[in-house]
Amino acid sequence: MSQMNIEEIKEFAKAIRRTAVTMAYKTRTSHTGGTLSQADVLAVLYSGVLNCSPDRMDDPTRDRFIESKGHNCASYYAALALKGFMNNDELMEQYCQNGSEYFEHVSHKLPGVELSTGSLGHGFPVAAGMALGSKRSNTPFNVYCIIGDGEINEGSNWEAMMFAAHHKLDNLCVILDKNQMQAMGDTKDIMCLDPMAEKIRAFQWNVCDIDGNDVEQIIAAFESFKKCKDKPTFIVANTVKGKGVSYMEHNLKFHYSAPNEEEYKQAMEELK
């Protein structure tokens, strides 16, 4: 992890964003804001943090990653395609097309994917179960799970929060993509989450409160996770919804709408 190339990761994050926006544009699909906010975390994870590769998906010692924000599959699929887990051409041709398995929510039928998600609040408990399985079977691996700040309204996350701390699952790292918006508006107006980091610390987790669009801070947070013993790690990744495309940033419209032709061209310019 110490040899990670910051510039390469930033370029990878841009490539993820370009692919994800292109998928949304071509298929007129939604949820682009949240798919962009998490792109930097995905870029770091798939640049050496996650101990996994396309030829190791059957290896019981591979690290697991769960994208619990299933509606934000575009940037996740983009990362998998760019790293060779899935075929990029096939993804671009088949995403959301009749008869394909490239659903608009994360599907375990696709190569590189551990868990289908879409209904919120499911990924975290399953990730905790995998982490427990590693401990009980003496099969060492880490489990990473991205959840959303709208998603954390769901009570199942808080059940898993208690569970993971109680069982000292220090091989579990949950990343909260805190982009401050959910389906109908700002999280602070719908279900106030703050002070998030303090809340999670009170649950006896190792907490990193970072700029979730800053690659170096993300790397440092994963280093903290790998060093921490006897506590699971929770990374509060403070991000910007729509990050990287100026007119999408902090704009609820792109939870629902795909960019038009002019907007798409502008996005590709900004993501060069």
Binding site: P60, H108, E114, L115, S116, T117, G118, S119, G121, H122, F124, P125, V126, A127, A128, G129, M130, A131, L132, G133, S134, R136, S137, T139, G155, S156, E159, A160, M162, F163, H166
Partner: protein
């Protein structure tokens, strides 16, 4: 029944290191032998069934055959979407075990009376739904489930149920309909599931009813060939009896299967089928299991 099941599960777990038991903070005086014998494959997940079901799915995905255990509605309806998405959709090797079927916890009220969950779970693809009728069947289902790789619901009674089968032990395959009491010349058959089966047997014996009795230990799948043979051998028809809502339980499954066989030309005549089940209501009064069965009309007529 629950003790027979857990004791058999413990025997299986001693031989099979993949078996893992998670309880939802219930099972006092039942699960302790397992907990003491195999602590490394036992866990109390607390009172948090959504998490318990999700954890079970994740644990199964690392190679375990995971049993989650709690009372009636808690490991089923409370976490139904986790069962659907995390367990069934992924074909995760998780067994959902509920105790207190129907009115077993009669005095505890409607919250503790699972009377709809067969319907909820049998509607979910990839699920096997097991409803053992007595302690012998509970042990047989425990053995079956230890070797079965996939999602399964196991609906148990409580304690002290009557043994209905004359055999000390049985081997079952998914979908089997088991003969319990047959007599040459009987033209009508009773199909029972769950621990009301023993009550049906007693009633048939006491009233000397000319009915054959079968147990339906699997509501899903149903063995079509066995059901077809039962229908064809009983020209006066069938009576189903269960401790579950009429709209979606075993009787519904039997009617659907018979109807489909008739529609497809696999049955030449459409049998008379009388369903005995709860008439779309929560029991409005308190009572013992026997009292509530009578109150809701759960007896062979």
């Amino acid at each position: 029944m629950r003790t027979s099941f857990i004791n058999q599960l413990l025997e299986e777990a001693k031989q099979n290191e993949k078996i893992f038991l998670i309880i939802g903070d219930l099972g006092y005086h039942v699960v302790e032998p397992f907990m003491e014998a195999i602590p490394e494959r036992f866990l109390n997940a607390g009172i948090a069934e959504q998490n318990m079901a999700g954890v079970a799915a994740g644990l199964a995905m690392t190679g375990y055959n995971v049993y989650i255990y709690s009372i009636g509605n808690f490991p089923t309806l409370r976490c139904l979407e986790q069962i659907r998405n995390d367990i069934a959709y992924h074909k995760a090797n998780v067994k959902i075990v509920s105790v207190g079927a129907g009115y077993a916890y009669g005095s505890l009220g409607a919250t503790h009376q699972p009377t709809e969950e067969i319907g909820a779970l049998r509607a979910i693809p990839n699920m096997v739904v097991a409803t053992p009728g007595d302690p012998v069947e509970a042990r047989a289902i425990a053995k079956f489930s230890a070797d079965y790789d996939g999602p399964m619901y196991i609906r148990l009674g409580k304690a002290g149920e009557t043994v209905a089968h004359s055999e000390a032990s049985l081997t079952v395959n998914a979908g089997d309909i088991l003969p319990v009491m047959l007599k040459e010349g009987n033209k009508k058959a009773v199909l029972a599931c769950g621990n009301i089966m023993a009550a049906a047997k007693s009633q048939i014996e006491e009233q000397r009813l000319p009915y054959d009795l079968y147990s339906v230990p699997f509501v899903k799948p149903l063995n079509k060939a066995q059901l077809k043979a039962i229908v064809e051998n009983h020209p006066d028809g069938l009576i189903t009896i269960e401790e579950h809502q009429a709209s979606c339980g075993m009787g519904s499954a039997i009617v659907e299967c018979v109807n489909d066989m008739f529609a497809e030309g696999e049955l030449n005549t459409y049998p008379h089928i009388k369903r005995t089940a709860i008439p779309d209501e929560f029991a409005p009064v308190v009572g013992t299991q026997t009292y509530l069965r009578e109150y809701e009309g759960l007896r062979i007529n």
